[in-house]
Symmetry: C2
Amino acid sequence: MQRIGSHTLRLDTPAYVQSSGAFAGKKEGEGPLKHYFDAVHEEGHLGQDSWEKAESKMQTEAAKTALEKAHVTPDQVQAVFAGDLLNQCISSSFGLRDLGIPYLGQYGACSTMAQSMGLASVFVSAGAADYALAITSSHFCTAERQYRFPLEYGGQRTPTAQWTATGVGAVLLGKYPSPVRVTEVTFGRMADLGVTDANNMGAAMAPAAAQTLTDYFTDTGSKPADFDLILTGDLGQVGSSLLRELLRKAGWDIEENHNDCGLMLYDRKAQDVHAGGSGCGCSAAVVSGYVLQKLQDGTLHDVLFAGTGALMSPTSSQQGESIPGIAHLVRLQSEAS
Amino acid sequence: MQRIGSHTLRLDTPAYVQSSGAFAGKKEGEGPLKHYFDAVHEEGHLGQDSWEKAESKMQTEAAKTALEKAHVTPDQVQAVFAGDLLNQCISSSFGLRDLGIPYLGQYGACSTMAQSMGLASVFVSAGAADYALAITSSHFCTAERQYRFPLEYGGQRTPTAQWTATGVGAVLLGKYPSPVRVTEVTFGRMADLGVTDANNMGAAMAPAAAQTLTDYFTDTGSKPADFDLILTGDLGQVGSSLLRELLRKAGWDIEENHNDCGLMLYDRKAQDVHAGGSGCGCSAAVVSGYVLQKLQDGTLHDVLFAGTGALMSPTSSQQGESIPGIAHLVRLQSEAS
């Protein structure tokens, strides 16, 4: 493993994507990416007696699906890095409890999938694991009632608000060569420019995304045009515009090849999601489903995935704190053609 | 890095303890370990306008103290692994926001310090970092009102309840040789025997501690008598008794050299803490203070630190779920004499 510049790790021994699993809720299953999920759950409870248990069940099925596709059993996996948005990360702990894989709970808000993929890749590259799983989920109904209002209240949403996705993604990284691999990782530093509006998290996260992408371009001597896709998740419309502007001022033009998981998951005109999707299941499902399939079929060859998170809580907002943002980056390359 | 047995990593290139910082609250500063903290805060608010901000301030000072002792600046540190018990881990994100170190939020409940030390050690050993920080905190007043009742309510505590410690510990791991080093790490699997009493978390965590210690002894071919100290954190009195019994039945006798951070931090007879201390700041402060000092002065030479966590939330308990336990282990060895 080489350290490049100040903040980037180059995995001379890459971590290969062995398989993945992606599941989504009804609304997400009606969006433009509907054909890229392993299954869509039409019913938000998944037969469970609470939404929290439904979200845990989605983690279980994503993990099992990824393992089954690769013909790998849980006892062959040395670590699962997983997280979600619920207090004490219960979707992950209860969803993965019965697998018997060493469990390392992660919290990076909506950056958790990138953080987990980065850590799993470092573990594989360093020989600490033959296989390591990265899994992240969110559920509209669990998040809405924990962070905002009871669903029955029917609160109005501001134009800058994002829609927490119901979705889960699992990626199995491993040492066995396959067409798609993680070759570089940049773990991000927090950035806080003083945004205090918890209904405008895109604006709070954009400076962190700009910082991590700048770190990456500087560390590696690369430029935005070197990549097929620079994918953030999840800045939504407001945060994406701000990111492009911040990077333009810093001398990097990403207009041509930037997209955001929160803008890809829904049809914003038809689906009433305001500024776009969010929630750590959003980028997890988009990457584990659509992006990995496009890398595997050779449509995409070189993708920077920068997951973005807002590291606040309802309590910190009530106490007047601003919102620290963070972004972690993994580079995904494909040999498929 | 070698994988030993099924679950243990042997760090052929060890991660050296460069320095540490440990701070405690008033009650903890009146206990048997009072001389081993960098400072004791007599006042729970630390001059802040909320307990949450006070806990964040403790994280800041622990990180800065560890860095200053080692004459290391934040830009020399490639990663900080940190966590706490608050929803969305805000003590860590707000406490470490201004340091500018790549931030990886961890959630392992009271096992978070062992999890963070294990990950920081793997990063250093693998060459992913020259320096990596592990930091964990808890605060009686923030935890009590989040998990249980408003402090003003004065709720009765059950005999099996543990007392959430006000404390923080930071350990700086690095590649530069020093007398104390992390040589082996075992990341744990969840264990859930169906305990549902959130006031008896020691019992919920003991099976996980037994499982991880059994994994470790089996993987390495070692036995309890090989170590000066087998340190759990934080099982308290109930969980410690259960752990010793579970291990005895499995053929491992740890009676002679087992202790628990939750039993060491307070004088249980004089300080009315019922089954002992808990909270992820408890083991963090005990290890970063007392244990590392005893390793550095040669009183201790070989310590297994198995941090234990209960991966539930108030919501999961209200929904009738049992409590998954977990334990992560790091082996600390000293060359001091």
